[in-house]
């Protein structure tokens, strides 16, 4: 059997290594890659616009995926990042080959040093927040360790700001040396934000079942449902998870960009209707502040009520609580 005498036959040795390895690679790489690379998009799922595509290129160029994942895994803890686990269709447009030089971007990521971005367009839907955060993350999140992407912005004397320029609002004085200047976003920054705001988990069509989240402890799910169900949603953690990005944990907001809730006339008004309206449908009529995105689609009536009641009873605020039924009324009246 000289053919398989690897000790002395270098040809047989090398060819065996090569062919068997190719065979194994077919099983774990070529076959699944072939299977996974051709999915039809979900109905109504839109391809990226030209601007969003440019934003994705900036995202890749700055290597955002080094710290930010874009995959909601099918385990319980990832519920924080999306309503359902990710499915292959979610990536049909974003994971097409980027261009001749660059392959399909590795968006799923393997490190979650920063938050997952699958659904960031819903969570942080404000252009002003995104720009301020890119220019100086610590202006909105004091504990953030994200780099500040200053090179995506430039400074302009406040007299020469053009109509079309998008100025970063609410930047604290300590982050800008020359007080006469304003910070203006480059087209790259605007494209990147455009892409980030487009990151929203696409709803599944009717009849298509989403994969389920796997709970950590299946036993407790089955037996211990009664005790937790009655407690209702926790207004504080909902506020911290979503609202605090702009209005801050202190409720004081960021002057010039996001209004303070502490001592606010709307929050402290015992008639809760305006307050509910703003949370459900957003607000864009105050020239001093950036627009607020609507949150009606993200939260149930109970959750909206819990958030509002937390705001109404914190930081020295003291006004009458609202109920889920009131939220429902406002929602139905305005839809």
């Amino acid at each position: 059997m000289a053919l398989f005498d690897f000790n002395t036959n270098h040809k047989a040795l090398v060819w065996t290594m090569f062919l068997v390895f190719i065979g194994l690679t077919c099983i774990v790489a070529y076959y699944p890659a072939y299977e996974m690379s051709s999915y039809e998009p979900l109905p109504d799922q839109q391809p990226l616009t030209q601007d969003q595509r440019r934003g994705l290129e900036v995202y890749v160029s700055e290597n955002c995926a080094a710290c930010h994942t874009q995959q909601v895994r099918n385990i319980e803890m990832d519920k924080a990042w999306g309503k359902r686990p990710a499915i292959p269709q979610d990536y049909v447009f974003s994971k097409a080959r980027l261009n001749f030089w660059v392959q399909s971007p590795s968006l799923l990521g393997s490190e979650r040093t920063g938050p997952d971005l699958t659904d960031v367009g819903n969570r942080k839907g404000s252009l002003d927040w995104q720009l301020l955060h890119l220019y100086e993350p610590r202006a909105v999140e004091p504990n953030s360790i994200m780099p500040s992407f200053r090179w995506l912005f430039y400074e302009v004397d406040s007299n020469f700001v053009r109509e079309s320029d998008v100025v970063v609002k609410g930047l604290p004085d300590k982050y800008i040396k020359d007080k006469r200047k304003k910070v203006v976003a480059t087209e790259d920054a605007l494209a990147l934000v455009d892409y980030l705001l487009s990151l929203k988990q696409h709803p599944l069509p009717e009849g298509m079942e989403a994969p389920e989240f796997i709970p950590l402890k299946p036993k407790e799910e089955k037996s211990g449902g009664g005790a937790t169900a009655s407690a209702g949603p926790d207004g504080k953690s909902l506020y911290e998870g979503t609202c605090a990005a702009c209005h801050q944990s202190s409720g004081e907001g960021v002057p010039g960009a996001f209004p303070s809730l502490k001592g606010s006339g709307i929050v402290n008004n015992d008639m809760g209707e305006t307050h509910i309206k703003i949370v459900l449908f957003g607000k864009d009529d105050n020239p001093n502040y950036g627009p607020m995105q609507p949150f009606g689609d993200q939260f149930t009536d109970e959750e909206v009520a819990a958030i509002i009641n937390y705001e109404r009873s914190s930081w020295g605020n003291d006004s009458a609580p609202v109920t889920a039924d009131e939220v429902k009324e406002v929602r139905e009246a305005n839809e």
Partner: protein
Amino acid sequence: MIYLRSKLHVLLFAVLVSVNVTGFAANEEEIDSWLHGAGVIGTIALVLMILALGVIIALARFNSYIKGYKQKKIEKNNLQFNEDILSMDSDQIDQILEQRKASLNYKLSGEELCGKEAPTDKRGLIYEITHDPKPTFVAKKQRRSKVFLRTDPELKKIVIAFISASAFWLIFGTVVGEFAALKFIWPELDHVSWLSFSRLRPVHTNTVFWGWGSFAMIGLAYFVMAWTSNTKLHSYKMAWTSFILFNLNIIFGNLALLMGVNNGGGEFREYIWPIFVPFFIVPLVMTFINFYQTVAHRKVREIYISNWFIFASIIWTAVVAVTAYLPINGLGETAIAGYFMHMGVGMWFMTFTLGLIYYYLPASLNKPIYSYALGVVALWTQMLFYTMIGTHHFIFSPLPWWLQTIAIIFSVGMIIPVTAGTVNYLMTMRGKWSHLAKSYVMPFFLVGVCFYWIGSMQGSLQATRYTNYVWHFTDFNVAHSHITMYGIISFVLWACMYYIMPKLTGKEPKQFLVGGHFWLAFVGMFAYTLPLMIGGTMRGLSWLQGAPFMESVVLMRSHWIWRAVGGSMMLLSHFVFGYNIYYMVKGYKAHASEAAEQSSATELTEELLETETI
């Protein structure tokens, strides 16, 4: 307070693991649930524990049986002795007692071995004479070899060039890594786009991969290939061309990364194809042809086991690298990403380095490898098991469930090649433990081999679904990759270098500095990895509890500081290492030409005298 609470969580986690393991072994109705994998694994662990218990009991029984047997024999002898004494007369007994007294009083004069003449050293064997031996603070290591290896000076040049380049890239890569680590503590360190964390991270990983590790391995392999085939290297021209191309790969690749041009962020393949294909894949194939032709023209009948591993490593890496750059879209790219991310490490670095151990470890101990057959088993199982496990980087992702399960099962199967390799190396070391005190080559090898087993087993455990639930996406991954790439690969490469470089250049680095390198790197690695493992666990648990994300960032801060401390020690050790290489290489050219002139000289003593005077 938060810290204390988190510490409790770590404890809780340990308890949870054990509770889950036992809970699921008993509960049949949950076989279809997600813990199925972990449950099975837990059961296996339990069975193994019982087996181990059985072995311990059996050994204890066996031991007591032997003890009883011995006791019976002793008693029998005692009876015989008593009878013998009773049968003797008093003169005989007196004679025996006198003899015993004389032998107890005997003393050595102290001059039995050396005589009374003054000592001379005709053959130049004595290294150092002292009349006043003082206890030293650190153990004094022997100069390991005085033999200036006589081999083709061209071969020496290429090996030394590769190793010097690797040392340069190691220092560069570590500086970048350290700078990136500092940014976790001071994110406002600078506002230069080229130095932003996200651009530097791939510069660090790619430099230590394609710069440090690859250069070191290939350089060391040139020597193994030519030496074990007992022939000249096939083509020096090819070797030098590949040397230049490999360097250009890192220079161009890093420049592109700093400018913000990368290949979509796929880990370890951030260099775009117009750089990676001509400057890595092409010289890789050239290197293979060079090695293959060298072995094909070998002057011995058999192919040494090291060369099996090195051939395998290069062939597999070529396949893996080409696969990585195929134009595949959608989640198909993610399937390839998992495959490449792991094969780049397992097929290139691990397989290659194992091959190097099979030559350099026995060579440094001056004895053959323990088992050739075990090495062959390790090679083929490495291929079978390692290839299948890439998807364990994407557990719970939208990749197919069966692919994830395969990855987990084969990750556990890695026990076979890893244990086969470890046993082989440790058994080779057996009986040569005194080398631990004699030189630093052995300590480097021992650390590398121990980490080979521990790091790989830890990786297998990390691949299971339950541990993934907690650890994935956290800094635990970073710790694991440093345990393996640093603890295994780097330590083994250093061992090989400290063995071969003095032989090539005829200059031995100062043992104090080699020791400084060893201890700084060793302690630094623990300061780096342990805090990240603890912090990573705490972070995963914080996510499990549904705490706000920023809480998990804040709790990592102290761990990131420790990581930077460990990183600084590692960086310092690399400067020392760089100096050691510089010290050995500096002025070696004279030796190379002298060695060429002397190639006809026959007497070993001449060379000995020559190196003695350096």
